[in-house]
Point group: C2
Chain length 275, copies 2
């Protein structure tokens, strides 16, 4: 871990890092905020399409609440960088900036696009080791990152104490973004897609013992375009008996201006689970 | 005024606008946040070098505090855009993104670079008219924008109820950034520069009836490089009898991570003056 930049913020430190990942076989960049004083735990934030490690730290306004709660946050980048794989740089919703938090199996992507293992194993261990936070880790994210947080939270419920999401892509197998990404990273065998689809995982018996918190703005154009499928998430949780606190936020859209409005409540939700 | 984008945030609306300015004879872009409910007043935020109308709205985390105080904020861009004046696009610290809040007099710039009149007359009137806020307007800013806020606050103290700044360029006549900009916009006659230098204005008798609040991080590299001259500001205020609340913030740098840490207190400061 090399520190690239540090900025004091709310008494703590915002830092930008990089390290060479053995999962992605590339350098990976991270942002973090660590409040001063003893740590209660760490949140991993997963960002959405086109984002980098910087968006959440710069725009969500989370530092104040993290400092008050004694929580740090670690934000990985949304894909490996610096590669030139076939098709990797042709669209904003696939390849660089759009890793979709899966372990790819297609020949073009399987050597590097391993964001699922990168986050749940490599980054997780690194946080435990670097900050002495054994087991006191929760996960949340936005849009593509909300999808990642829900999938990782369900499949690794022993690792993540609590899970929340803003406007998650809750049923990627059933929406254009997810279908494009899964075809490119996982190939044409739809049965392999189920391991990375929140609704399918719930159908297949995966659950998280803690209620899941989801905020969804009603003015989110991607909700209207059926990219998010909050309705499917709600049905799948009901059927599976997964406790879900789903809040439709009237008039809010898909932007960080909405995330910032409710970030305090998500941090309080995780702080309680990590207490 | 054309609304380009709206995002609900903390119950209110973040909006991006443009309008054709009669001062700059170009379209000018603005960002604003208007909380729901009755307005107590409006703050004008002036941004620093390389910024646009977006930086403060996206990064300062001010919306929560503005909503609580019943204050709106309006953030103009840092220069006219869309022109091709001689030298306008050759450096990050002069020309586009670096208007320095002066009314230029040099032949190349005088027709368009009129940011002083744009803010104090055109934008000011527009806010009064558009939002019904007669006289209930204050001003603040960062770095180059801190310079703009101090200069406008001193010279137009009847218009701005209160003035604050983060890391202002407090003595542009005495620093490399300011000398370069003033030579380019105002020419070689140093006496004309005094109208836009906070320390010179204080020497020349300009004062604001309300104390001025200034936050300056001690780890700010531009402070070390003598671009800001907080020391000169302090001396000039003392000599002139201008009340100044100057706070050195230990370990904070020039970034928005520092601004966000203290924005609540600046908003409270202006809210009190506008009560």
């Amino acid at each position: 871990m090399n520190i690239l930049k540090s900025h004091k913020s709310f008494g703590g430190q915002v830092q930008f890092w990089d390290h060479v990942s053995h999962e992605t076989k590339t350098p990976m960049r991270l942002a973090s905020f660590r409040p001063e004083g003893p740590l209660r735990g760490c949140l991993i934030w997963l960002s959405g399409l086109t984002c980098t490690e910087e968006n959440f730290i710069a725009k969500a306004g989370a530092q104040r609440y993290l400092a008050e709660a004694g929580l740090m946050v670690v934000c990985p980048d949304t894909s490996p960088r610096g590669l030139s794989l076939p098709g990797e740089h042709e669209a904003w919703d696939f390849g660089a900036g759009a890793g979709f938090y899966v372990d790819a199996t297609t020949p073009a992507y399987r050597d590097h696009y391993r964001m699922y293992s990168y986050v749940t194993k490599e980054l997780y261990s690194l946080i435990e080791k670097e900050f002495g936070l054994q087991g006191r880790i929760s996960i949340f994210g936005h849009s593509m990152g909300g999808h990642g947080a829900l999938v990782m939270g369900l499949k690794e419920s022993h690792k993540f104490r609590s899970v929340s999401a803003f406007a998650p892509i809750a049923n990627p197998m059933g929406c254009p973004w997810g279908q494009k990404a899964f075809r490119g990273y996982l190939g044409d065998d739809l049965s392999s897609w189920r391991a990375y689809d929140t609704c399918a995982l719930l159908e297949d018996g995966w659950k998280h013992p803690h209620p899941i918190l989801v905020d969804q703005g009603t003015a989110d154009t991607f909700l209207r375009d059926q990219q998010l499928r909050t309705d499917h998430l709600q049905m799948a949780c009901e059927k599976a008996g997964q406790r879900l606190e789903l809040r439709f936020q009237d008039g809010y859209d898909h932007s960080y201006y909405g995330i910032a409005s409710f970030i305090e409540e998500h941090i309080a939700f995780h702080a309680e689970a990590l207490a």
